[in-house]
């Protein structure tokens, strides 16, 4: 029983990281209907920025986190401006393929020796690890921090989207781009902001991931990126609480599978979940299915 509870806690930690990435996917898909394949690599860059912030510049953890978020957010905005905006009116497949291209580029460019290098790097722990034993369950301060930071960021996001003018504009654009434009909303600006926020969250996720699972490499974003995407679909793509719910479930499922079935099946189970969701309820757990009007 304690082992199960322990796995649940581990699952929450993983789920927290996935949630931060998943939110970026869901925000971007909600606003321009694009599966941003490069998102997982922005997560990776965020992890590296945190790495250098802590190791090279000796920033305290909160500052390093903000630094990584800012850097990742900026990267997201730049990618949107250079690679996706020109294709705003092109067939969707062109955008998808460009996203794939950006992803490959980020991975391989980062692998170059003068950038991040291809090797695994050990993530610095900016504070000592403390373990709390509650009953026969062990929670580390790392897990608490990861979980709390994620929650705080998600709450801030939810408040931002529902209470601020910009947040309202974001929701308007995701409903109906052309009408929002007619209402005087600057579409380009809103889309940039969306990418910025989503990418910043992914950047935060990257730092937290690095702290929790202390090895990073340029290709580390591929799997978490895909799994976070599955999480967003599972919860209902385009729906913010959905991304959080989906990520929580994905984290849990993955950790439990690894513990009770086999570690090798970890990745497969994530996509099995995806297939089941798509076939049973493609709109996701919190989604509403839309019927195409003829």
């Amino acid at each position: 029983m304690s082992s199960f509870l322990q796995q649940v806690i581990n699952g929450l930690q993983l789920g927290s990281v996935y949630a931060l990435i998943a939110l970026g996917y869901t925000l971007v898909y909600g606003i321009i209907r694009l599966i941003n394949f490069a998102h997982g690599d922005v997560f990776m860059v965020g992890a590296y920025l945190g790495f250098y912030a802590i190791l090279r510049f000796h920033m305290p953890f909160p500052i390093a986190l903000l630094f990584a978020m800012a850097g990742a957010g900026l990267l997201g905005i730049i990618i949107e401006k250079l690679a996706y905006r020109p294709l705003r009116n092109a067939p969707k497949i062109a955008c998808l393929i460009t996203a794939l291209g950006v992803s490959l580029f980020l991975e391989n460019f980062s692998s170059l020796k003068f950038v991040f290098g291809p090797n695994y790097l050990a993530y610095p722990r900016p504070f000592p690890v403390v373990n709390f034993n509650i009953g026969n369950v062990t929670i580390s301060n790392i897990q608490i921090i990861v979980f709390c930071v994620a929650i705080v960021l998600m709450v801030i996001l939810q408040l931002f989207v529902s209470k601020t003018k910009t947040g309202m504009a974001m929701r308007a654009v995701s409903f109906d781009k052309s009408t929002a434009q007619l209402m005087g909303i600057n579409i380009d600006y809103i889309i940039s902001i969306t990418f910025g926020i989503g990418s910043a969250l992914a950047g935060a996720g990257g730092v937290l991931y690095g702290i929790a699972y202390p090895q990073i490499n340029p290709f580390m974003g591929i799997m978490p990126g895909l799994k976070a995407f599955v999480a967003a679909v599972l919860g209902g793509i385009g729906i913010i609480p959905g991304a959080m719910l989906g990520a929580g479930i994905m984290g849990m499922v993955e950790v439990l599978t690894s513990a009770y079935i086999s570690s090798a099946m970890r990745d497969a189970i994530a996509f099995l979940v995806l297939l089941i969701v798509l076939l049973v309820k493609p709109a996701g757990l919190l989604g509403k299915s839309s019927i195409e009007k003829v």
Partner: protein, 328 residues
């Protein structure tokens, strides 16, 4: 009208002659060693990628089904053929046909089974579903040695007889091109294309869109399976990482770059892609080698921004386009 018939016949003869001459020319160069064994492999690989890409073009370019799992079927074909040939201890290049038939059949069967539930999905969802399927398959490959030790699992499969040669690849590539071209210019072929154009309208005029989506998907996957079989017996070593979703993206890029629904475009793009990516491996100095993988996606992005319809758009070179008899 008679004139056009004769024109068609002459065209056909021209094409056949062209193919024979091309084959003989290359075969001579290969046999006499003027083209060394490294480039020999590259040429074969180009043919293999052509076949695989033609399959994806059928699925995506013609039938409009966005599949990101093509490499999985390529892998299924590869492992199947390798397994069959190795188990049966076949060493004569002629027996490759058995492996390839097994490869094609299994790939097609699995495509049929997975297609039944999946092809109902809308385009971007179909993409991720096939992506997910591909990842599951790769995990299966990684762990296959638990059931069939000869498949090697994550250590890779070794000791596969090298049965693929230029003749096999050339003949099958030509066959693949002809079959696709003929299929497209027929009633079932047009039904496939109508699914891509407008599913709702297609159903409204009597096209069983489910049947044709499945047809395109299965045939395209058979192409992938056969290509995979040729691949297995070319490099004689299989590793699950050769069949991950990055490889699916590679084939997709070829199809898009060449021009979707253009057979000539696919052939052209596949050959160019292989030669630039693989061939350059020898030519480029060590230091710049890694830049290959940086420039390639950059080029991709640029092409998508400036010429998303691909190199050929949807045009065909004269040989492959169907000469429509234009009656007044």
């Amino acid at each position: 009208m008679l004139k056009l018939n004769i024109k068609n016949k002459i065209s056909k003869i021209k094409i056949i002659l062209f193919c024979i001459v091309l084959y003989l020319l290359l075969q001579v160069l290969l046999s006499t060693g003027i083209i060394n064994s490294y480039w020999q492999q590259i040429i074969c690989y180009a043919g293999i990628m052509t076949i695989s890409a033609l399959g994806l073009n059928l699925i995506y370019g013609f039938t409009g089904q966005f599949s990101l799992g093509h490499a999985a079927f390529f892998g299924i074909g590869a492992y199947t053929s390798a397994f069959v040939i190795k188990i049966a201890h076949l060493n004569n290049t002629f027996y490759l046909i058995l492996g390839l038939i097994a490869a094609g059949i299994l790939a097609g069967l699995i495509a049929y089974v997975i297609g039944l539930p999946i092809l109902r999905l809308r385009s971007d969802y179909l993409g991720i579903a096939t992506l997910g399927f591909g990842i599951i398959i790769k995990v299966i490959f990684d762990n296959a040695d638990a059931i069939l030790p000869v498949l090697g699992g994550s250590r890779g499969m070794i000791g596969i007889p090298k049965l693929t040669n230029f003749t096999w690849v050339f003949v099958l590539a030509i066959l693949g091109i002809v079959i696709l071209r003929n299929l497209i210019n027929s009633a079932p072929g047009r039904a496939l294309i109508s699914v891509r154009e407008d599913e709702i309208a297609a159903e409204a005029v009597g096209v069983n869109t489910t049947k044709y989506k499945t047809l395109g998907f299965v045939i395209g996957s058979v192409y992938a399976g056969v290509a995979g079989g040729l691949y297995a017996h070319l490099y004689a070593f299989l590793h699950p990482s050769n069949f991950d979703f990055l490889k699916s993206i590679d084939v997709l890029l070829i199809v898009v770059l060449g021009g979707m629904a253009s057979i000539s475009g696919t052939i052209f793009a596949a050959v160019i892609w292989v030669f630039i990516l693989e061939g350059l491996r020898v030519v480029l100095p060590e230091a710049i080698l890694d830049w290959r993988l940086v420039i390639y996606p950059l080029l991709l992005i640029l092409i998508m921004i400036f010429r998303p319809s691909g190199i050929f758009g949807s045009r065909e070179i004269k040989f492959l386009a169907y000469h429509e008899e234009k009656t007044k």
